[in-house]
Amino acid sequence: MFKYVVKRVIAAIITLWALVTIVFFLVRLMPGDPFTSAKLTKEVAANMRSYYGFDKPLIQQYFTYLANLLHGNFGYSMKYTNKTVNYIIGQTFPYSADLGIRALVMAVSFGLVLGIIAARNRGKKLDFFCVIIAIIGTSIPDFIMGAILQYFFGIKWGLFPVAKYLGFRYTILPATALAFYTLASVSRIMRSSMLEVTSQDYIKTARSKGLSEFRITFKHQIRNAIMPVMTILGPTVAAVLTGTFVIESIFAIPGMGKYYVSSVNENDYAMILGMTVFYGFFLVLCNLIVDIMYGVADPRVRIGKR
């Protein structure tokens, strides 16, 4: 197991290095640079370029960046003067992560329950109801979902604050809006996976032992059905925790989301790279955790000796 984790960590480092390299050179291929702006005079722009080291050969810039990265230093943002990328991420990530965790807890718990209920009541009204929720969740984009929630729960009925992120009551609407899509896909996957497990031979064996339906569902079906859900959870966790542009803009949450978009628009090389590496790191980490969790849930994929 230890050997396996070490191997995976090494693979993860190589993945991240490849990511950094590709993105580093790709951004340079974009037209313009952070300082091509009508407002800057040519001299100022040239000064800025040399200040950030753009006048040095590209390959030298690349190695300088890598060396800084090894120290955990993403460098200075080229648009937000005097702020490091680390500082910006440190300021905004806690909000995104907080919102993301709430949304995830909601999505996974309700998604699993809905999926299980739907599968147990296949073809009945309850199943139909769960399927409708799943369809709504997957087909309505999050910005519409967010707006609908704001309109009804925030403005019309006044149950929750419409925007800002100042306390528990503020978190409910954005977390729900963010959770909906994941909730819907978790419930759909869990439903079909449960149905598949139900027709397995070992369920018949369990039944032939005289076990109760409750025991069969919980001990024999769910654990075997949960694997496909775990598979989608890796990338989903990474995506949800690191912030989403749309939900955070709609609910005026000071999260990371907006920097994904603005950094690209503004050619802010350091920000683009910083965000990408941060996200990539998260994604790789989540997938690694999921892979280890597989072994916990299913002894067949457990690696090495226990």
Binding site: Y202, T205, A206, S208, K209, G210, L211, K219, D298, P299
Partner: protein, 343 residues
């Protein structure tokens, strides 16, 4: 042998499935009985209703789409069909064990083997936890699993096919049921393991006095193991009785066909096996006469029109075939002793 009392009796069981294509009449008027301590073989080709009938006993068929149209299943005199879900659960595993066809898929991959055996005792207050573990380990030893301490903690994927089937048998046996139903337990195993499993079943019958229902399509297995045989075709019983009678005094063309399609040691070189031509009947619209009529070399007009009556050929030998009728022509299957009679 025939003096023993019936522990399980199926009377005129009719069982069907609702499907999109219509109603599949899987079991049509099947009656047989299992006596104390005997091994009853049920033989027939795929889809003839032998497994469905056996699963009816524990009501393991998915319902819906399956449903009973009639009949009685008496276990120790009590009708299983009239029992509540709770009462049936008490019979499952505890009174009647079930060994399924494919050991590779019939064990839960995420549970340790020992826990899966112990589960049979779940919800029972009459045995302590310690006792449960002891009994689980004893039964594992009994079915020939070596290194029980280690196996107990292993997962199914760490065992070989034969070992898994032994675990299945251990699950079926652990609470000392009066009957175990083996649904083609050796079909997916190779022949050496098959022989071991069959020996094991014989040995267990000797030691524990368990009645066994052995479902198979292999007459070799039947001849080796069983005291009595039920031959099924197209959802119906065509012939049943004591094993010697069925093998050496065959009275039904289908049984005869089955025997002829097996390779024997004394088959001459170059001589071909004789298959039964044709395909089994469509159970969406079962034939109104004898189910075997369309494939039968002896087929008469009456066979296509009317379901055959029961004929008692000998003490413990019944066949459902018009050839035994007094007006039927003389054939090699017609028995002088055959009397029209109830089952």
């Amino acid at each position: 042998m025939s003096e023993r009392e019936n522990i399980l009796e199926l009377k005129n069981v009719v069982y069907s499935f609702h499907t999109y294509g219509g109603e599949v009449k899987a079991v049509r008027d099947v009656s047989y009985e299992v006596r104390q301590g005997e091994i009853l073989g049920i033989v027939g080709e795929s889809g003839c209703g032998k497994s469905v009938t056996a699963q009816c006993i524990l009501r393991l068929n998915p319902e819906p789409p399956g449903f009973f149209e009639g009949g009685e299943i008496l276990y120790k005199g009590q009708d299983v069909l009239k029992m509540s879900k709770k009462e049936i659960r008490k019979i499952r595993g505890r009174e009647i064990g079930f060994v399924f066809q494919d050991p590779m898929t019939s064990l839960n991959p995420t549970m340790r083997v020992g826990a899966q055996i112990e589960e049979v005792f779940l919800g029972r207050t009459d045995v302590s936890k310690k006792e449960v573990k002891e009994r689980a380990m004893d039964i594992m030893r009994l079915v020939g699993i070596s290194d029980v301490e280690k196996r107990y903690k292993q997962y199914p994927h760490e065992l070989s096919g034969g070992m898994k089937q032994r675990v299945m048998i251990a699950i079926a046996l652990v609470s000392r049921p009066s009957v175990i139903i083996c649904d083609e337990p050796t079909t997916s195993l190779d022949v050496t393991i098959e022989a071991q499993i069959l020996d094991l079943l014989l040995e267990l019958r000797e030691k524990l006095g368990t009645s066994i229902i052995m479902i198979t399509h292999d007459l070799g297995v039947i001849s080796r193991l069983c005291d009595r045989v039920v031959v099924m075709y197209g959802g119906k019983i065509v012939e049943k009785g004591e094993i010697g009678e069925i093998f050496y005094n065959t009275a039904h063309p289908y049984t005869k066909g089955l025997m002829q399609s097996i390779a024997k040691l004394d088959t001459a070189k170059g001589e071909k096996l004789k298959p039964i031509e044709g395909t089994p009947p469509d159970l969406f619209a079962p034939p109104k006469g004898c189910p075997f009529a369309a494939r039968c070399e002896y087929c008469m007009d009456v066979c296509e029109q009317l379901p055959p009556e029961a004929y008692t050929v000998a003490d413990d030998h019944t066949t459902f075939c018009w050839l035994q009728h007094e007006m039927a022509p003389e054939t090699d299957l017609k028995k002088a002793t055959a009397k029209k009679g109830e089952v």
